[in-house]
């Protein structure tokens, strides 16, 4: 039992994620692109905790992403926050905002829940737009620093080169990935799945489902806040679009196309969409049509997303091999 739990934490999928993080910068043209993929994979991972594991379709992810980016940037610009303290602040901001949005939204279910997250998302956008003294309004926040990584007073890396920053984001990503797996495989995580499958039954069994949903929101918001702050550090810029509804939609689409209910799917989803955008946007600016088509196709025909697609191809391959083997065996018998 103990062993099984351990393997689910550090084996299989975690190794695959680690391999992806290590191999990605070698295959991709730039470390910056790889960093962007990991940042959005983080955001998709957090969205997956809500959508894939708890069954909550939230249009509020952009609030936490943009909120984390803004607060971390403001702290770094105005009060010289260091790297880790800025990220910690972003995490707390994301968690706090998610706590607020979550606490109100989970009072309703279904379509009304979605509408509440949508209205908070719109309100957050207009607030960010109005507070232009802090957020830069339409122009965004410019000249965001990327502080050096220091631990106990020692400078480990100045993170100036894109490779060094990638290494830092990659390490942080793995920590978050392992943490998310730990959450999912804990009794808390299985309760979330129970809520997704049948909330009435979960509450009839005695779980106060709203507490679980709220905590899922807070965790998701915290991770998304970190992703937002990292994105600001990557670009040295926090555009207003971070907190727009489109950001929430993008994060949702990455999560869904990658595969809801699988953490590695979030890496696939974020990776394929960021890559697709990077490759196609120069030649075909309207490449997002593909996203629309993919979204419809996944929802209607491939509910477990790219990761599920990979899984079913692997299944078929195994099935094919087995049939072939048994056919050869039966031939030998004959």
């Amino acid at each position: 039992m103990m062993k099984q739990k351990k393997s689910s934490l550090f084996g299989g999928v975690t190794l695959a994620a680690l391999a992806t993080v290590i191999v990605m910068p070698m295959l991709l043209p730039s470390a910056t692109l790889a960093t962007e993929i990991l940042i959005f994979a983080m955001a998709a991972l957090a969205c997956n905790l809500l959508l894939g594991y708890t069954g909550l379709l939230s249009f509020g992810q952009g609030i936490f992403f943009g909120g984390g980016a803004y607060v971390a940037s403001i702290c770094m610009i105005n009060w010289n926050f260091g790297l880790l303290s800025a990220l910690l602040t972003a995490m707390l901001t994301g968690a706090l905002l998610a706590g607020l949005v979550g606490a109100l939204s989970i009072r309703r279910t279904g379509i009304y829940f979605v509408m509440l997250t949508l209205s908070f998302s719109q309100m957050a956008y207009f607030i960010a737009y109005s507070l232009s003294d802090w957020t830069g309004g339409d122009n965004g926040l410019l000249d965001i620093p990327r502080p050096a990584l220091t631990l106990l007073g020692f400078e480990i890396s100045d993170l100036v080169s894109s490779q060094a920053f990638y290494a830092f984001v990659g390490t942080l990503f793995m920590v978050i990935f392992v943490f998310a797996r730990r959450v999912i495989h804990s009794p808390f995580g299985t309760t979330l799945v129970a809520i997704r499958e049948n909330e009435n039954r979960a509450s009839a069994v005695g779980f106060s489902t709203n507490h679980f949903k709220l905590l899922a929101f807070v965790i998701s918001g915290g991770i998304t806040g970190i992703a937002g702050a990292l994105y600001a550090m990557l670009l040295n810029f926090a555009p207003l679009s971070n907190i727009e509804l489109q950001m929430s939609e993008s994060i949702l689409i990455m999560t869904i196309i990658g595969g809801t209910g699988s953490l590695f799917g979030s890496i696939l989803g974020a990776g394929s969409i960021v890559l697709l955008g990077d490759v196609l946007s120069a030649v075909w600016p309207r490449w997002m049509i593909l996203l629309g088509v993919a979204l419809i196709a996944v929802v209607l025909f491939m509910p477990s997303g790219l990761w599920g697609g990979v899984g079913s191809v692997a299944d078929r391959w195994r099935e094919y091999r087995r049939r072939k083997a048994s056919a050869i065996k039966s031939q030998e018998v004959n």
Partner: protein, 285 residues
């Protein structure tokens, strides 16, 4: 004083356009139990068709007649090919599928008409202002108010006084029973979807000479339509009318004071209504 009257009339005109968008959304939700996130995108098609027809023929009336019907036909085929596959799925799936459709429509619109907004000129017959004493008001805006009031009345007649309307209302209560009683419910669904979306197209045409056409307006319109529907109550005709007028008036009166504040207010109102009166101000519990 006349400034306020001016803003109030503007608000009513805007509110009637919001009503036309939202009533389609609410009828579709009522009968089909379907959440259409592509509603704003169809509005977008309506207004761009209006732009094209007006710039090709110079005839706004042709656009007013043809564009909504084209949008309705498009909606009909979308329903037949895609939407109907999703009825048995939960609402979140509806949202995601129509989000995909909206994304496709928006990007197609940009590839056809370009990313920069266009303006549509007011038809010749309605250019100039209407004068009453010392009060002046643009004729076209007055026309929008009157025309949408006529459409609203016709729609009310259609829903309350015809067999089709009776079927829609009965189906909203219990689609399965209506189907068991011998009505071809899928046909009814397709027609209702086309009607509701066609109304959004009509709103797009009417709004085009006032607000111009812009590829990203679909998202904004969708948000406002949901605010109206939530405030008025999902599935309620009169709720859509009153909700539309409230939102239109608030927006119009706030534009002079604090435009972002108006958006903040209406989305705040939406959250309040969902939390305190989840069936809307006029919906049935």
């Amino acid at each position: 004083m006349s400034l306020y009257l001016f803003q109030i009339l503007n608000g009513i005109g805007l509110g009637m356009i919001y009503f036309l968008i939202s009533v389609g959304l609410t009828i579709i939700f009522g009968l089909l139990n379907f959440v259409n996130f592509a509603h704003g995108a169809f509005y977008l098609i309506g207004s761009y068709l209006c732009f094209t027809i007006v710039s090709l023929t110079g005839n706004f009336w042709l656009a007013l007649a043809l564009a909504p019907i084209t949008v309705a036909i498009l909606a009909f085929f979308t329903e037949r090919t895609l939407i109907k596959r999703a009825y048995h799925l939960p609402h979140t799936y509806h949202i995601l599928i129509t989000l995909g459709i909206a994304l496709i429509i928006q990007e197609l619109t940009i590839s056809v008409w370009g990313p920069i907004g266009k303006s549509v000129s007011v038809p010749d017959a309605l250019q100039g202002v209407f004068q009453m004493g010392h009060f002046y008001y643009p004729k076209y805006r007055l026309f929008v108010i009157l025309f949408s009031a006529v459409i609203a009345f016709a729609l009310w007649l259609l829903l309350e006084r015809t067999r089709f309307g009776a079927l829609v209302r009965a189906g909203s209560e219990d689609a399965e029973t209506v189907s068991l009683l011998g009505t071809h419910i899928h046909k009814l669904f397709s027609l209702t979807f086309a009607l509701g979306v066609g109304l959004a197209g009509l709103a797009g045409v009417l709004a085009a000479p006032i607000r111009g056409v812009h590829p990203f307006v679909g998202v904004e319109v969708l948000g406002i339509a949901f605010v109206v529907v939530v405030i008025g109550g999902m599935g309620s005709f009169s709720g859509a009318l009153i909700g539309g007028l409230i939102v239109g008036l608030v927006q119009s009166l706030m534009t002079t004071i604090w435009p972002q504040g108006s958006s903040l207010m209406i989305y705040g109102a939406m959250a309040f209504v969902i939390l305190l009166r989840p069936y809307g101000l006029f919906g049935r519990a």
